[in-house]
């Protein structure tokens, strides 16, 4: 293995971009669990649906307005909006009925959603992998070539993280959501319409996942089955970071993303094993995660 600076840089950048994707998907997962105590198994499958939707919208726009990479932006915005709406509807129609149920039944419902959505993808888009090719020239850094799009991804990830932090800590609705993480009953006793908050949080979680799916299309092909790999890594992220903590999720995403990128270099088949090893160590040391509170555990 050549241990030169350039290849380390490339791995670091790909690890960071991967960390951004993990963060965007798992912050929704973490918030949904934190606020509603629902573990959404279908989160990554919804992410996958968003990816396909963005792909189709992009193809549609390029067919109308001509070939331009910038058309990806309206496609991502539209797809994110559509998935936000889908998340809202899902919460109102299905998830809402599960709050009073046992955990396994909730998991089973989201498991059923995985089957339904992934088979719908097969029905609509077929089984081929999809990706978008953007005409971007790689730039040279330290004797190696880097796709500058990676910096766009890292910027989007950090931007969303900052925005989410601002929303949760500086706005009225964000404060309500954080209060709901600690005590739902108290929040609703204060006269706040908790059911709207629930729907909003679910839709927000699905929306951020949808955004990441669109942003990642140009560097990563999507296909059936990758949602399961993703959801398991997201579970690892959320458990390491602590449920309901955005900062924890961000730090855990960075750890998992970067470690994954480097362990692929050293031991290709064992990358996931190393992540699970970290997970095991963290859970034994702090079962409620790095930034979680002991109370919720």
């Amino acid at each position: 293995m050549p241990a030169d600076f350039g290849s380390v840089l490339i791995q670091l950048l790909s690890g960071l971009s991967r960390a951004m994707m993990l963060f965007l998907v798992s912050c929704g997962l973490s918030l949904i669990f934190g606020v509603m105590n629902i573990l959404n198994f279908a989160h990554a499958t919804l992410w996958l649906v968003a990816g396909y939707l963005t792909y189709t919208l992009f193809q549609f726009f390029t067919a109308i307005f001509g070939d331009s990479g910038l058309l990806l932006i309206p496609a991502i915005i539209l797809a994110t909006g559509a998935m936000f709406a889908l998340g809202w509807v899902l919460e109102r129609v299905l998830i809402r009925r599960m709050y009073a149920r046992e955990v396994p039944e909730q998991l089973l419902l989201t498991f059923a959603l995985i089957l339904i959505f992934s088979d719908s993808i097969k029905l609509i888009w077929g089984v081929e992998n999809r990706r978008i090719f953007l005409p971007i020239e790689p730039i040279e850094m330290l004797d190696s070539y880097v796709n500058p799009y990676i910096f766009v991804i890292i910027a989007v990830g950090c931007g969303v993280a900052a925005g989410l932090w601002w929303f949760l800590h500086r706005t009225r609705y964000g404060k309500i959501v954080r209060a709901a993480v600690y005590n739902r009953d108290m929040v609703s006793a204060l006269g706040i319409r908790i059911s709207t908050i629930f729907a909003g949080v679910f839709a927000l979680g699905v929306g951020t996942a949808a955004l990441s799916a669109g942003v990642f299309l140009p560097i990563m092909p999507i296909g059936l089955g990758i949602d399961m790999d993703l959801i398991i890594q997201c579970f690892a992220v959320v458990v390491i970071g602590g449920f309901g903590s955005i900062l924890g999720t961000f730090v855990a995403s960075l750890i998992v993303g970067v470690v994954y990128a480097f362990s692929i270099l050293i031991w290709p088949n064992g990358a996931l094993a190393i992540i699970f090893l970290i997970l095991v160590v963290v859970v034994i040391w702090r079962p409620w995660g790095l930034f979680g509170t002991e109370m919720r555990y």
Partner: protein
């Protein structure tokens, strides 16, 4: 048991069984008769489906030991099913050598090896899992299950990677589907009898206590983690037995047996049949396997179909099919009872394992 229990009301074998052991008794009798007579149906297909029902049913029942009795959900249970299948398959290949044939003794030996293999796997995973409960237990078992899947999937030199192990032709007597069916039926029946014994033992009642109140159990001096670990290993071993039967039946094993899709099967079956009942997972296996065998004849979009079926079941039939039947019976009896003596209190609870 309901408080309307009355010895004079015994009418026949089925009612008697219902009074003694709950709904699982009559269900076991009916299912047992059906299984015994199944090969009378024309054609080979029903028998093949029957073997599948039995193996997956045992798999689901072993899962319910963790879910229904201990109150934790294992989302990586297929790992032990798969480990058992691989243990059997690899020893099977070793015994076959180059000839492609295997003696009866070697065949039984290779089936038996599944038990220690999956027990050791369950012990290693369980050691970490039992430190946690609830959602964390589910995530941990899923993560470890996937870990074992990746190990089997990528260890080409030993497990054959994604090719799996092929050519597991059982000895001549068991090559006949009907013979293999009755062989499976015997082993599954013995395993179920053992499971029944376990759930009725003090250990089984300790598990129910762990489900209902762990803190209280530990106050009473029960070593909670040890009990959970023991149960995890027992459940894993029974899943291994089911896995062992799978390889010679399908003539091959593949890493998919350890994957998350396979782990979903016992969960579906248990919830379809009813987790609160000993026979629930087997009923679920009957419903699920028959549906999947016959629906796949009509549509390739089977996951979509089963997805909607599960959605409807979760939303409208909580507690499973057996709970639906049982609550009807309890209602009926309450009505009869209240005709005779008004004001008597009787109840039927979902949480009770019968």
């Amino acid at each position: 048991m309901t408080s309307s229990f009355n010895k004079n009301k015994y009418k026949g074998l089925i009612t008697d069984l219902y009074h003694r052991v709950g709904l699982s008794g009559p269900v076991a009798v009916v299912l047992g008769l059906c299984f015994l007579l199944l090969p009378l149906l024309p054609g080979e297909f029903p028998v093949i489906v029957g073997v599948e029902i039995l193996i997956l049913g045992l798999f689901a029942m072993s899962f319910n030991l963790i879910y229904g009795y201990m109150g934790q959900i294992s989302f990586g249970h297929a790992a032990y099913f798969g480990l058992g299948a691989y243990g059997t398959a690899l020893l099977f290949r070793a015994f076959q050598g180059g000839t492609g044939e295997i003696g009866y003794f070697d065949f039984f030996l290779s089936l038996l090896v599944a038990i220690p293999v999956s027990a050791v796997g369950a012990l290693l995973v369980g050691f970490f899992c039992v430190r946690l409960t609830g959602v964390y237990f589910a995530i941990f078992s899923l993560a470890f299950g996937e870990l074992i899947f990746y190990v089997v999937f990528s260890w080409y030199s030993f497990t054959g990677g994604d090719n799996g192990v092929q050519g597991l032709l059982p000895p001549p007597f068991f090559q006949n589907t009907v013979n293999y069916y009755y062989f499976t039926l015997t082993i599954v029946a013995v395993a179920i009898a053992l499971l029944w014994r376990i759930t009725r033992s003090p250990f089984g009642y300790t598990l129910r206590m762990l489900r209902d109140n762990q803190q209280r159990a530990s106050f009473l001096g029960i070593n909670v983690r040890m009990c959970m670990l023991m149960n995890f290993v027992i459940a894993g071993s029974f899943a291994g037995v089911a896995g062992a039967l799978w390889g010679p039946f399908q003539r091959s094993v593949s890493p998919g047996l350890l994957g998350w899709v396979e782990s979903g099967l016992p969960v579906f079956m248990t919830l379809i049949g009813g987790a609160g009942f000993f026979a629930g997972p087997m009923v679920g296996s009957v419903v699920y396997t028959i549906l999947s065998s016959y629906v796949t004849m009509f549509t390739v979009y089977w996951p979509l179909t089963i997805g909607f079926i599960i959605l409807i079941l979760v939303l409208f039939v909580p507690g499973g099919l057996l709970f639906l039947i049982d609550s009807r019976i309890v209602n009926l009896r309450n009505r009869r009872q209240s005709d005779k003596d008004l004001g008597s209190v009787s109840y039927g609870g979902q949480g009770e394992n019968q």
